[in-house]
Subunit: 577 residues, 2 copies
Amino acid sequence: MLLRMSTLLLRTLREEPADAEVPSHRLLMRAGFIRRAAPGGHTWLPLGKLVLDRVTAVVRDEMAAAGGQEVSFPALLPREPFDLSGRWTEYGDDIFTLRDRRGADHLLAPTHEEMFTLLVQDMTGSYRDFPLLLFQIQTKFRDEARPRGGLLRGREFLMKDAYSFDLDDDGLIATYARMRAAYQRVFQRLGLAHTIVSAVSGAMGGSASEEFLATAEVGEDTFVGCPGCGYAANTEAVVTPVPPAPPVPAPALAVHDTPDTPTIAALVELANRRRLEGRDDWTAADTLKNVVVTVHRPGHEDEVVAIGVPGDREVDLTRVAAALAPATVTLFDDFDSRPDLVKGYIGPQGLGIRYLADPRVAPGTAWLTGANRAGRHATGVVAGRDFTPDATIEAADVRAGDPCPACTGGTLTIRRGIEIGHIFQLGRRYTDIFGVEVLGADGRPVRPTMGCYGIGLSRAVAAIAEQHHDERGLIWPAAIAPADVHIVAAGRDGQVEAALSLGATMARAGVRVLVDDRPNVSAGVKFTDAELIGIPRSVVVGRRLPEGYAELRDRHSGERREVPLVDIAGVITGTLG
Amino acid sequence: MLLRMSTLLLRTLREEPADAEVPSHRLLMRAGFIRRAAPGGHTWLPLGKLVLDRVTAVVRDEMAAAGGQEVSFPALLPREPFDLSGRWTEYGDDIFTLRDRRGADHLLAPTHEEMFTLLVQDMTGSYRDFPLLLFQIQTKFRDEARPRGGLLRGREFLMKDAYSFDLDDDGLIATYARMRAAYQRVFQRLGLAHTIVSAVSGAMGGSASEEFLATAEVGEDTFVGCPGCGYAANTEAVVTPVPPAPPVPAPALAVHDTPDTPTIAALVELANRRRLEGRDDWTAADTLKNVVVTVHRPGHEDEVVAIGVPGDREVDLTRVAAALAPATVTLFDDFDSRPDLVKGYIGPQGLGIRYLADPRVAPGTAWLTGANRAGRHATGVVAGRDFTPDATIEAADVRAGDPCPACTGGTLTIRRGIEIGHIFQLGRRYTDIFGVEVLGADGRPVRPTMGCYGIGLSRAVAAIAEQHHDERGLIWPAAIAPADVHIVAAGRDGQVEAALSLGATMARAGVRVLVDDRPNVSAGVKFTDAELIGIPRSVVVGRRLPEGYAELRDRHSGERREVPLVDIAGVITGTLG
């Protein structure tokens, strides 16, 4: 491959693009890898397409090595199978749907569990046909409420989705482990530092599930780790240890006049000033904060519920939504319409709506909380005595320093990451729905069990850019750089010709070469562009050309050295080979 | 590559699939290359995906060789650019449209003229940035009224679309010629016998346009050829020579009682029997047939118009629609609502609706035609004297033996083909719409001129299957076969092991190998499957294994010969190399 910048569709930008929020988006735009084309949709320009293709090739290679067979399904599918699985409703506004000219409902499928299940049902009959591991690489569409971060969260993106079918749970566990290892190899080859975290599975259903998060400050996913035991989990998946029951029974419930205390801080201040229950050591942790939310369950009417967490915590709506998936959750704010909900003075006792409590609101715990009348709070409100939550859910935010749920004495750290992969043990959710059965070795019918495995390919490109850049531009890992070497012709007599000749020699040796042969562009601009584009090695054909020397530069280390022109190809192919 | 049929997702079918109408669809389904997944949508199974990938690689290779740069646009796009170009309305029901969660209109773009134009406007500024040739390989969606023929006409398909930008007409003509040559190389490499025909450009707009038609009986496109001069054209593009004006003026218009003559045959019979105008040599060619149609113009109200052709011809609605594109046309049949249109007795004289005439209805020609009253016809109805068509359009069917429009004395033959490629000289339609201007070499603004160039990749697979099969199955050209060699282990002691060992040796030498190592499958079934799957060469490891021999079979010629096992790899790689 020999690309010439004089003809390449490329326009680097010196200025920050106005609508780019994160480094990967800014740099991929500035270096001419992508261009915005639609809300949440980007065009891959030639350099970007080369990187995307290399990322795709790595994934395809590892999927084949793991025994995967590549297929390709339509993206536009009729509604029926998704009605059967319930996902048509569950995904709600998050998917794009349309009606065809005959009035039939279709969707742009977010993933293909239903279709793979139906295909396997159609094409297998016996235990001899298993195990099966199938994958496809496909453009996916999702109607994101808030596309952001360029390629990080778009409405159209490239994804590899794979589905495994095993005859029994041991088979699924073995396949899952094989795919987990394949994913580790993929991300290692892509140069992506990542953490594998436990995850809840959301609308996909199923049991065991892990996410591969590329560590990045701009990541949308918050995850916790325990340096002591190695535990790692998505915050949605963190399980809060239930506190032991208190040794002493709490005093009886008592209602107090607490005017002007709609906030926890004001309430604590008053409680100490008034010495409620004779105490002056009240803290926010002694209070019970009750937050009213609206739960939107696809296909059902909205429901207003209250969520209780200790007053020193916030309700984490992402964790609540994960606990209630596929429902989504928003803060309730129409208190005028509900005089029974006294804002700032809500308590779980005698409340007329469903009440969901954090695990810390355990049976026997006593709380200072609202009395459901304006300007009134109650002390000694005991869980299990004065009120009983309708359910316990993970509702409070997770904080650095919280106890590790997996070991004794460990505490959690918190980091951010970009979800680049997700693997699930789906189990028999879909084979149950479609009644898939094959003949077992013993002559009895067997229902296969499934796994599913996704990698966001376009998102991976962004994640790599997040992890591999500096203030001057991108620094691609060699395995996925758009070219192996960037030859810069400084521009004077004969330098362009020499650069092109050198490039042609290397291209014949199988090296992927980008030559900056642009006329009327200064050497300084070319150097700046080379650093912005970020090909790992560059060769400057410049002022020492008459002596037979060129300069070899390493984008990562910044190292520069003069090398005889006749040796350059050997040095590059040697280091590449 | 070493594929083992024991684990491959493959189920060949002995019986004809019920819903497959054409050989390629039947055989691709039976041989396990594709599977139906949705109305007008198919899943590529592993063997089919391999073929599609090889076809794609050939196209990508030739596009790069022609100077094309690969990019990738979103498929889902906002309405606005397509409103500006008029294509949102023009395509009407043929495209899929949807509303996103914010209520904004989007479409799944059938092609990307608007977006490429906007990209080039965005990324260029000077004549130095030209010429540009850009392409993408993308899944396309069209809401086909009648999906048919499996991959031949689906609602979701893979396409390569390319767009060229030149500064002047000479540049466009040169680029067009280069792409035309590249297309010929592509189809030659794909083993597709094809004809290049002149075409009208339909809804795409623009001037010069040619189609590449793969000759096939099941093709939807009818095209004509002149063996004398080499002229070839889509029937929609055939230009009818205008007959010379008649030497003698026609008698005056006369109306006759012609009861019970709603058909041309009945009218001719009556005219001869009654000796109208004193003649008894009336033929259908002397009559003027007037067919009423409804013209559907996107964004406009439907219009009822009459179309006149000589009575010995039929109105070809495909040709009429091409002439009126982007309008579509259907036969009008609601005569009850229009008492002014007297079915069977319509004539152009004094007709209250627009009248479009075939070129044969030239000024001075005289006709026997309806008198617009029940049971009445008129003789001596002269074009230009008694009526004047509102327009002349190509309306009549084209027939074998018709005079060639390109030479003197030649006559046309008619064949059918599958449109596998289409190239257009678009001109400045889109650069005008978006006001694209760049700085010319002389300092003045220049408006670039465009070409666009499409290849249906999934359709090409079907076309190859149409041209390369026999009654036993597919016969892939070597360049795009799913494997280079198909090794069949007949099944007895050691044969499977020997076949796998031979396959591994060849795979290491870079040969793409499919091994039929299925246990519990008879040699006969394996041979039948091998012929159905159609890999050009197969090796049977069978009864002469103990003597060190295997049988080499050629799927195309049927030739079989015994070859020492130790020589097989050499023979195969030698012939491949």
